[in-house]
């Protein structure tokens, strides 16, 4: 039995001061010294003879991103109490003590609480020493606290027969403070069984080849309660308004009460696993294979989608069910040859697919569910719906007028309104007016031509539902598939070498930001060379990317709809580690008192094979994720703008005394 108490206290001090620097927001202004123009030579150095009038950015006092300087202190204290107690009892029965029982029962209790406090004051009088008593502005503060507790009881029975048949059964009963009283407790059982068939007397003949073999199967459930404790209460959020009252203070306010479901309870995770472990050739070669199915049931997701006339979002309830099916296989091999060379290798490959069995829209018929909803019922998670790219429009696709410079316009009736578009030479043209505006944004040579999958002569997404998705199709999946890794090593007479590689077989995403979307925003200034050297121009009609357009800070628009050709293919193989080493012989180092001495050279992440056509994006990147932030999107969700993976080379010595 053990009892743990831990207390954490965190104090953060922060302040921002005013800068006195050149303000680069506006144009440079004439550089004047005491009212006289300053002259500089061609290198920018002040000169008294000749030269040109100098300009510089105006030097001013300003703040970086905020309106006033401030000093702030945050403190947070958290207490956790954990009690674990369990007891075990072993029992051996049978003539040869071949029936081995083990019983275990126990409980655990976790309680935690935290409180936090923050004070901020503006108007610093000493920029170099930010303190609360050296400031003259208003005080602002905040504080919060919360607490929770979990209590659980569990019991387990193990049975093994002669090390051949293994059985285990568990049961847990857990309670959490996060749910309403009548739904706090739930029971979670689990079972598993294994059969070491190589220990069977009948299997002795195959042990020369299969030196160890075990089949195993298990099914278990566990509860998840990592949700806020206010899901079943109609909370009115506290905030401050940006409206100032009569004494120039922000008005405090309480928000609209949320719509809630009063019956919220544990989310349940059930895992079914079937596996086999085999070892061959006297344990030299091992193979492990697992197939698993994991269900997350009673997931807390929003309820039926209701129209916006409700005025708020549907309350969350235990409506969701997510299922992942997957398998893993791993091999390992090691062998030492007669001449002293040793080789070892491991290889593993795994894959999983997740399907949403029941999402927020489960009550709607299948045809009406939106294809853009990631958690739509029946949707395979990560599926990307988009248009299928056919090719780029070329000059031959359009009809020109007598001068040969302007394309003839034609009118089509689309969804009841008259639209003006360019006239195509094809016998049965397909119009893409959904993405045009009749003015400047009209498809012309160099823009993308999509495939008309539903054959209605227009490219659109229909109503973007399962039953009517127009020309949309599943063009890829953003879940990483077929993860593999392998390690090969060899050693001989003290020298050793190993290479570790890891990769993903299949992953596609529609990127975000200037590194992934050509034309994302002209104001960004720079674009990757891969875009700049490979877009359609009249003298380069076989380019990969279409005619250059400014999308005005959007990830999709005009030619750049979500489509198959411009999905980023994030499959990769990365040589993560190459390790070379030399270990000195024992007799040499023992004299110096060392038991082991090894020199090594290690290269990390040096080679990456990817399919990104030269884009400066790391294939392991996830848009908007960074280890530096939690709770909000990093860098506006742009792809590839996080810290890149480090390539490093290190060498050194390992000495063991």
């Amino acid at each position: 039995m053990d009892y743990t108490y831990d207390h954490s206290a965190l104090e953060t001090n922060e302040s921002t001061v005013q800068y006195r620097a050149a303000q680069v927001w506006y144009n440079p202004i004439e550089w004047l010294d005491n009212g006289y123009t300053v002259y500089v030579d061609e290198n920018g150095n002040r000169t008294d003879t000749g030269g040109i009038p100098a300009y510089r950015f105006p030097v001013e006092d300003y703040y970086s991103n905020i309106s006033a300087n401030y000093v702030r202190q945050d403190t947070r204290a958290a207490d956790n109490n954990t009690i674990n107690a369990y007891t075990t009892y072993n029992l051996r029965l049978g003539v040869e003590k071949e029936h081995a029982f083990k019983f275990m029962a126990g409980m655990n209790q976790v309680t935690s609480k935290w409180s936090s406090h923050q004070t901020e004051r503006s108007g610093l009088i000493d920029q170099t020493n930010p303190q609360f008593h050296l400031a003259g502005g208003v005080y602002n503060g905040d504080g919060n606290r919360n607490w929770e507790g979990q209590l659980g009881f569990f019991g387990r029975v193990n049975y093994a027969y002669a090390d051949r048949y293994l059985l285990e059964a568990n049961v847990r009963r857990d309670g959490s403070s996060k749910f309403p009283k009548h739904l706090r407790w739930r029971t979670f059982p689990s079972f598993s069984a294994g059969w070491v068939f190589t220990n069977e007397p009948l299997a002795q003949s195959i042990t020369k080849v299969v030196s160890f073999g075990k089949f195993r199967a298990s099914w278990g459930s566990i509860g998840d309660q990592s949700v806020p404790n206010t899901l079943y209460r109609a909370v009115m959020a506290n905030a401050t308004s940006t409206w100032l009252d009569g004494s120039n203070k922000r008005m405090p306010l309480f928000g609209t009460p949320a719509l809630i479901d009063r019956n919220i309870t544990w989310q349940r995770i059930e895992t079914l696993d079937l596996g086999v472990d085999l070892r061959f050739l006297d344990n030299k070669l091992g193979v492990t294979f697992d197939w698993f199915k994991r269900d997350t049931k009673d997931m807390i997701v929003p309820g039926n989608e209701l129209p916006v006339t409700l005025g708020t979002s549907s309350p969350k309830g235990n409506f969701g069910h997510l299922q992942t099916k997957g398998w893993e296989v791993s091999l390992d091999f090691n062998h030492r040859f007669a001449n002293g060379v040793g080789v070892n290798a491991t290889f593993s490959l795994s894959d999983a697919i997740t399907t949403v069995i029941q999402g927020a829209d489960y009550h709607k018929p299948w045809e009406v569910r939106s294809v853009y909803d990631e958690f739509s019922t029946g949707r395979r998670y990560g599926d990307i719906y988009g248009l299928v790219t056919d090719r780029l429009f070329q000059k031959e696709d359009f009809e020109y007028d007598a001068t040969g410079k302007n394309i003839v316009r034609t009118n089509v009736i689309y969804k009841g309104t008259l639209r003006s578009t360019n006239k195509q030479t094809a016998r049965y043209p397909v119009y893409q007016v959904q993405y045009e505006d009749g003015d400047k944004l009209v498809f012309a040579p160099g823009d993308v031509k999509f495939k008309d999958l539903d054959g209605d002569g227009y490219i659109n997404a229909g109503s973007a539902t399962n039953g009517d998705h127009g020309d949309l199709a599943v063009i890829g999946n953003s879940t990483p598939r077929y993860e593999y890794s392998f390690r090969i090593g060899a050693d001989y007479k003290g020298f050793d070498i190993s290479i570790f590689c890891q990769g993903i077989g299949k992953r596609k995403i529609w990127g975000s930001g200037q590194l992934a979307i050509p034309g994302f925003n002209a104001k960004e200034g720079a674009i990757p060379k891969a875009f700049a050297t490979d877009y359609w121009r009249e003298d380069r009609t076989d380019a990969f990317y279409p005619r250059a357009w400014d999308l005005g800070n959007n990830n999709t628009g005009f030619s750049m709809q979500r489509q198959s050709k411009y999905l980023l293919n994030m499959a990769y193989l990365r040589v993560k580690n190459i390790n070379l080493g030399y270990s000195f012989q024992q007799n040499l180092i023992n004299k110096v008192g060392l038991t082991k001495a090894r020199l090594y050279l290690s290269l990390e992440n040096f080679i990456t094979f990817d399919n990104l056509r030269g884009l400066p994006v790391d294939p392991e990147a996830i848009s908007g994720y960074s280890m530096f932030t939690s709770g909000h999107t990093y860098n506006l969700g742009r792809t590839g703008t996080g810290t890149p993976v480090f390539k490093s080379l290190s060498f050194g010595a390992q000495l063991t005394f």
Partner: protein, 621 residues
């Protein structure tokens, strides 16, 4: 062994005893419905959330800019944009609307999107006060806060009706099992506005006359009622020719405006420019409701920065607006007898036109106003532009970026007066009492007598002569179906509210969107008269060949080709400025009301309910 078992059982027993305490850990720091509604302070705190949404003023920072003057109100016949003019939307969107409590808007209609979150918020307040607080509030408090709740509820519906026409009406909070309520079809406009007017009347009678500084009081309510009742009255008269209903609305507008006028608390006392560029006008007699800003509180905006003459801008006043300004003898520029008024150079315009002209624009043409040559400085105080007199100066930090702290008169007395006189004039055309000279003196002439500030007087600006009913200006360009008095009242409104909320709503309620047809009126695409050789000599040089173009006095377009600088005298008209695509009388396009998304209609149909599309847009898409 026995000790182990014993201690184990003891621990379990101990834990079980405190079982209930351990798991009884509800949130300690959240306010929850319905326990929240216990006293007046709590009701006030709930109502505070409405203020930034309904009274945005200059917005906040760069992010909350909907409903802010200047940059956001460029979709009308006052503004020319360099490049293509913003277009009327001519197709039905796939979906429209959200549930977020944000300052989201439809820019073409300057009103809320298909969003009922604010309606729900107001309904919750109404329901809780009526059901739970009868015994917790005194009679006066009860009536006041119920009035406030009904006021905000009605205000949101008036704005929704402005954008969509018919909207589903909810007077109580809707629960998620009330599917027939949630999925109900749009209520007809007249039915919704009847309920809105009932709410407005209740608020007019029951909201306290004074609830503290910066809080909504009866006069704020009355001013907004006069605005929306006038709007609805014009709409009924000009779109549906329903004169009975129009009279009802105009009478309510007059009644509400009288509440403000008869209170004798307000007057036109501040000069025009200071109304927009001051930091605190809460005590001024002009302001019925004023939004303040403060850098220390972190509440700042960016609207003044766009008027600081340092940032080039793509939009600005067009020639149609410039020509609309009345000359200070009370006549329009065609009928005036002052010869100097026919000269369109900026100095002459400043000296001959209404003082609001000089207050709204910079006194020299500048190439920073890339579409028209005339830079809008209405929303920045005169002191902030003093830096232009120093060489190498730049605007003060508080007039750069989003650090501005000037305040905005969310509702000013001038609007109430103009609403009042326009409602009276419309009633006169419908057979009610005629407008008297006393009425004009109280409203339009009071505004014309607004004091001038020192800098305006230095530039020879004069107050406009008072309007006389027996000597009304007869504009040769007046529409035949608008009486001369109404024409002049509309002109006063246009001058007073240039680049503010009013123009596009006015065009829609008068059924005059044809004023925005750039093919019919070429003045809409031109800017001010610029004499490049004398006023902007440095701008024409080798690098700017082909960049500037004017339409000269003879009506010919002259583009700068490097050599004809002395011919560049005319109305500023860049070659990139292109007119608007046709939007009137197109089948299945209604530029007056917004369509709703066709996916929303389909979703209703799949559930077995019917949602109609806005009239004038194709049903079934």
């Amino acid at each position: 062994m026995k000790l182990k078992i014993f201690s184990f059982i003891a621990t379990c027993a101990f834990a079980c005893a405190s079982c209930n305490d351990v798991l009884e850990r509800p949130s300690q720091t959240t306010a929850e419905d319905p326990e929240y509604w216990v006293n007046e302070t709590n009701v006030r705190l709930y109502a505070n959330a409405f203020y930034p949404n309904f009274f945005p003023g200059y917005g906040v920072g760069y992010g909350q800019t909907a409903y802010t003057p200047n940059g956001q109100y460029n979709f009308n016949d006052d503004v020319v944009v360099k490049g293509s003019q913003p277009q009327f939307s001519r197709s039905v969107p796939s979906s429209k609307g959200s549930i977020e409590l944000t300052l989201d808007w439809e820019s073409q209609f300057t009103g809320p999107s298909w969003n009922f979150a604010w309606v729900r918020k107001a309904c919750v307040m109404k329901d809780r006060i009526q059901q739970l607080m009868g015994d917790k509030l005194t009679g006066e408090q009860f009536r006041h806060w119920l009035g406030i709740a009904r006021f905000f509820h009605a205000l949101e519906y008036a704005r929704l009706v402005n954008v969509f026409g018919d909207v589903p009406y909810y007077s109580h909070e809707v629960h998620r099992d009330q599917l027939s309520e949630i999925y109900k079809d749009r209520s007809p406009r007249n039915e919704v506005m009847d309920s809105v007017f009932a709410d407005f009347r209740y608020a007019l009678q029951n909201v306290k006359q004074d609830d503290g500084a910066q809080y909504v009081n009866r006069y704020v309510v009355a001013a907004f009622v006069s605005r929306w009742a006038l709007f609805e009255g014009s709409w009924q008269k000009y779109h549906y020719q329903n004169n009975e209903r129009a009279k009802l609305c105009f009478n309510l507008a007059v009644e509400a405006a009288q509440v403000v006028i008869n209170s004798d608390r307000y007057a036109i006392a501040t000069d025009f420019r200071s109304l927009f560029g001051s930091t605190d006008l809460t005590k001024a007699k002009d302001c019925i409701l004023y939004r303040k800003y403060d850098a220390e509180q972190g509440v700042t905006h960016c609207v003044a920065s766009y008027c600081n003459l340092n940032s080039p801008t793509d939009m600005g006043p067009n020639l149609d607006l410039i020509k609309a300004f009345i000359c200070n003898d009370g006549k329009d520029w065609n009928s005036t007898t002052m010869t100097a008024a026919k000269d369109f150079t900026l100095d002459s315009l400043i000296a001959t036109r209404d003082p609001r002209f000089e207050a709204s624009f910079y006194h020299k043409p500048t190439e920073n106003a890339k579409s028209c040559g005339l830079y809008v400085t209405k929303f920045i105080p005169r002191s902030a532009l003093a830096y232009l007199n120093l060489t190498g100066g730049s605007p003060a930090p508080e007039f750069q970026g989003d650090k501005n702290v000037t305040g905005y008169p969310v509702m000013r007395y001038a609007e109430v007066l103009l609403n009042w006189i326009e409602a009276k004039a419309e009633l006169a055309t419908l057979g009610e009492a005629a407008v008297t000279q006393a009425d004009i003196d109280r409203s339009i002439n009071a505004i014309r007598k607004r004091p001038l500030d020192a800098e305006a007087i230095e530039r020879h600006v004069k107050q406009t002569a008072p309007m006389k009913l027996d000597d009304l200006n007869n504009d040769p360009k007046r529409d035949a179906d608008v009486s001369p008095l109404l024409w002049e009242i509309r002109r006063e409104r246009r001058m007073e509210f240039a680049f503010e909320f009013s123009r596009i709503i006015d065009l829609r309620r008068w059924k005059k969107l044809n004023y925005m047809d750039t093919d019919a009126n070429p003045d809409l695409l031109m800017g001010t008269w610029v004499n490049f050789p004398t006023e902007l000599p440095k701008v024409l040089n080798d690098k700017t060949v082909g960049a500037y173009r004017v339409m000269n006095a003879a009506g010919k377009l002259v583009t700068y080709n490097g050599k004809n600088a002395n011919l560049m005298k005319g109305f500023f008209y860049p070659k990139e400025t292109i007119g608007r695509l046709p939007f009137l009388n197109l089948p299945n396009v209604n530029p007056y009301l917004s369509p709703i998304g066709y996916n929303d209609i389909k979703n209703y149909a799949k559930e077995g309910y019917h949602l109609s599309q806005t009239k004038g847009w194709p049903e079934g898409y």
